[in-house]
């Protein structure tokens, strides 16, 4: 089974290995300065030095991500649904949303600190801002794209009230869009972890932990191999989460119109 998977993904695996190889060659022979570019071996060494801390750091950052994502879901989906279903709601919310959306999560840090203090909640808030808009927009699009035919089919079968139509038709019909929005939101939310954890914060009473937090700590100490290590951790975790969600999308959405092109 493993061999099969390896064989199927051999181009992807080769790509990663080649990248690592190139990095090692460039950093070791061309640049030869651990400040400008630590070598792969130095980063691996840092990994073994810090391996006891890394699972905790990842767990804490994932907790921050989950907090932000959770609130993005409970705010974004209802608002997106309302805007997608009711024209008035769309006109009401749209200008505000379009004004808030371009503000980068980083810019919210001063207010986040004032509102939530230096806590895991201010970190969660920054991630919430990053994760909110993809979910909201995708839910909106999903609802907008609900087939009128299906709505009428439901009405004809006795599903008449708006709330029921939303529940029985619009929501399930929009599910592929929402799921796609969640995948994007997780990606963006994860990118905000570094900004969100800039001030250390509470970290669930565990002290100095968190991928973003440690990245800033090691930056202050000019320990670039460790900075690179945490950057890689961010990247690899992001990749894993994306792949996991793609897998979930494929499996949960088999019913989606037409077949997946890859399956042909």
């Amino acid at each position: 089974m493993l061999m099969n998977n390896l064989k199927k993904n051999k181009i992807q695996i080769f790509s990663i290995l080649f990248f690592l190889f190139l990095w090692q060659i460039i950093s070791q022979y061309l640049i030869n300065d651990p400040l400008i570019l630590p070598t792969v071996s130095e980063v691996i060494k840092a990994f073994f030095e810090l391996s006891a801390n890394i699972p905790t750091d990842i767990a804490v950052s994932l907790l921050h991500l989950s907090t932000g994502l959770f609130f993005a879901l409970i705010v974004g989906i209802p608002i997106g649904a309302l805007m997608g279903w009711y024209g008035n709601a769309d006109q009401l919310f749209d200008p505000i949303i379009e004004m808030l959306r371009p503000i980068p999560p980083l810019a919210w840090i001063p207010f986040a600190i004032i509102w939530f203090g230096l806590s895991d909640y201010s970190a969660g808030y920054i991630i919430f801002i990053g994760a909110l808009f993809p979910i909201l927009t995708n839910t909106y699009t999903g609802f907008r794209n609900t087939s009128k035919r299906l709505v009428e089919a439901a009405k004809v079968l006795g599903c008449k009230k708006n709330i029921d139509l939303i529940r029985y038709v619009a929501l399930p019909s929009s599910f592929p869009y929402i799921l796609s929005g969640i995948r994007i939101s997780i990606g963006i939310g994860w990118m905000c972890v570094v900004a969100a954890e800039m001030f250390g914060l509470d970290n669930y009473g565990l002290g100095n932990v968190g991928v973003g937090n440690m990245l800033w700590q090691y930056y202050s100490l000019h320990m670039m191999d460790r900075v690179a290590l945490y950057m890689l951790i961010l990247g690899v975790m992001g990749l894993l989460m994306d792949r996991l969600l793609k897998y979930a999308e494929t499996n949960l959405l088999r019913w989606k119109k037409g077949t997946n092109i890859r399956q042909i």
Binding site: S147, L150, A153, A154, V156, P172, S173, G258
Partner: protein, 254 residues
């Protein structure tokens, strides 16, 4: 006497401050368990008429009575089968058929019983756990029929239900439909632009003119079931009606 009565039904659409009269004083009476077909050139308003009867649109003038009671909005006494893309893709065949029953808040066990009966009626027992994307066009339409019948409407409206299917499948389903009609004794109002299909299925054929459409002719079809499309009297009737379209300057494609 009559189950469904349409009186002076008119419909005007407003588009960009222009008014378009689509239906002009349609009068029609339908008896219980009758199978009628409505034919006419495309764009003549057949679908609009059906949607008004169903309650998805409101008439600009006139009334609709079901069992002598005015109906103004979607009623569970009526069912509708669309031409295509009307199945809920995220629900299995069985779940599609139970949908109307869920809306009626019928108990789970009862839902299963009724649904399985109609799934059997349309010959899709083996596929009840399948999703629409796994079904052929003909199978999907069968599900649509079962779904519409499950809520036990008195009148079944069908909007060119076989129009998107190939001839082979269409023929099969037409025969099945007659079988279902005989078994369930529902009143069926069937819209099509296919004259042959109308003659095969209906006891009465209502011919609409082009917009603003009125009832041009009503033809009684006394041929006995099951009908044979290649029989001489069938073909004669088909020629009659077809010629009517050329002669009476109905215009437009059928």
């Amino acid at each position: 006497m009559y189950q469904l009565q349409l009186k002076n039904l008119s419909k005007t659409f407003r588009r960009n401050s222009k008014k378009l009269l689509v239906l002009d004083n349609i009068n029609l009476n339908v008896k219980k368990s009758e199978f009628i077909a409505i034919v006419g050139p495309s764009g003549c308003g057949k679908t609009t008429l059906l949607r008004i009867i169903m309650g998805l649109e409101h008439p600009s003038k006139g009334s609709i009575k079901l069992d002598d009671k005015n109906i103004k909005e979607v009623s569970s006494a009526l069912g509708l089968v669309f031409q295509e893309f009307s199945l809920f893709g995220w629900r299995t065949v069985l779940e599609n058929v139970t949908f109307g029953l869920e809306m009626k808040k019928i108990g789970k066990e009862e839902q299963m019983k009724i649904s399985e009966k109609y799934i059997k009626l349309v010959d899709l027992e083996d596929f009840k756990k399948h999703y629409p994307y796994e079904l052929s066009g003909g199978m999907k339409q069968r599900v649509a029929v079962a779904r519409a019948l499950a809520t036990n409407p008195e009148v079944l409206l069908m909007d060119e239900p076989f129009g998107a299917l190939d001839e082979q499948t269409r023929n099969t389903l037409q025969t099945e439909l007659i079988k279902i009609w005989k078994e369930t004794r529902k009143t069926i109002i069937f819209i099509t632009h296919n004259i042959e299909e109308a003659i095969f299925l209906a006891q009465r054929i209502i011919i609409l003119s082009k917009t603003p459409s009125t009832v041009n002719r009503i033809i009684e079809n006394k041929l006995s079931y099951p009908r044979d499309k290649l029989a001489p009297d069938f073909i004669k009737l088909k020629c009659d009606i077809t010629r009517h379209f050329y002669d009476d300057k109905i215009d437009g494609d059928i």
